[in-house]
C-alpha cells in the first residue's frame, strides 16, 4: 500500500484513462443509508468545555485601538464620531457576547449600542483580540 503514496503520477494516469476513477471520489457516489452517520466533529481544545468558552473575553475595541468609537456596522472610528457609540465599560465575556448576538442586552451595557457591538464582534479577524473567543462561540456544542 505504501507504494501507492510513492507513485501519485501513476494514480493520476489511471484516473485519466478511466474517467470514473478508482478512488470513488469521481465515480459512483454512495448516498448511504438514512441512519448512517457521515460527519464526525473534532472539537478544538479551546472549545472543549463550555465554561472556558463562556468566560473568555472580547475587548471592544481591541487594546491597540483603546478609546475609539464603534459605528452601527461595527467599524472603529475616532472617539466622539457622530452616530457611533462609545466602547463598552469593560470587555464583553463570551456569555454576554452570545446573549447580544441572540438579541438580548446583558446588564451593564447600553442596549442601544448592542447592534454596533455585535457587528464589531462579527467582523473580528484572526489575530484580533477576541477572535478566538468569538470563534469558539460559533463552534458546535456537545
Amino acid at each position: 500500500m505504501a507504494q501507492d503514496y510513492d507513485k501519485p503520477e501513476n494514480n493520476a494516469g489511471e484516473s485519466a484513462a478511466n474517467p470514473l476513477g478508482v478512488a470513488g471520489r469521481r465515480g459512483v457516489l454512495m448516498l448511504g443509508a438514512v441512519a448512517a452517520t457521515s460527519v464526525v466533529t473534532i472539537r478544538p481544545a479551546l472549545a472543549s468545555t463550555a465554561a472556558s468558552v463562556l468566560n473568555c473575553k472580547i475587548p471592544i475595541p481591541d487594546p491597540s485601538h483603546t478609546g475609539q468609537y464603534i459605528t452601527q456596522d461595527g467599524k472603529l472610528v475616532p472617539a466622539n464620531t457622530k452616530g457611533a457609540v462609545a466602547p463598552p465599560p469593560r470587555p464583553i465575556t463570551g456569555e454576554e457576547a452570545k446573549k447580544m448576538i441572540g438579541g438580548q442586552s446583558p446588564a451593564g451595557f447600553d442596549p442601544s449600542a448592542r447592534e454596533a457591538y455585535v457587528n464589531y464582534i462579527r467582523r473580528l479577524q484572526h489575530g484580533t483580540s477576541g477572535f478566538t473567543c468569538y470563534a469558539s462561540l460559533q463552534a458546535p456544542r456537545p
Binding site: 470514473l20 469521481r26 454512495m30 448516498l31 438514512v34 457521515s38
Partner: protein, 89 residues
C-alpha cells in the same frame, strides 16, 4: 422542503484522507471528518442554496448515484447543520 446553504468553499480547507475528507471550517475553527456523500453535498452547495431534490440533481450531473432517496440527502444535510457546516436557508 428545507432549503440548505453553506459557506463558500473558500471558508473551508479540505484534505482527502483515503475514504474520508478532513474539513477545517475557518469561521468556527472546528475540524470535521466527513464521509461520502457529505463533502460532495457541501461542494454542491457552492452553486447556491438548494433543497434535497436540487442537490440530488447537482450530484447526478457529476456522479453516478448509488441510492436514490432524497431522504438520505436530508439526513446528511441535518448532520452538516448540527456540525455547523451548513444551515437552513
Amino acid at each position: 422542503m428545507p432549503v440548505y446553504a453553506a459557506d463558500p468553499p473558500t471558508a473551508r480547507v479540505a484534505v482527502v484522507l483515503d475514504a474520508l475528507v478532513a474539513v477545517y471550517h475557518r469561521p468556527s475553527g472546528a475540524t470535521h471528518l466527513l464521509a461520502a456523500p457529505s463533502p460532495e453535498l457541501l461542494d454542491a452547495l457552492a452553486e447556491g442554496p438548494a433543497d434535497a431534490a436540487e442537490l440530488r440533481a447537482r450530484l447526478a450531473a457529476l456522479y453516478e448515484l448509488d441510492g436514490d432517496g432524497t431522504a438520505m440527502i436530508d439526513a446528511r444535510m441535518e448532520e452538516l447543520i448540527v456540525a455547523g457546516l451548513a444551515w437552513r436557508a
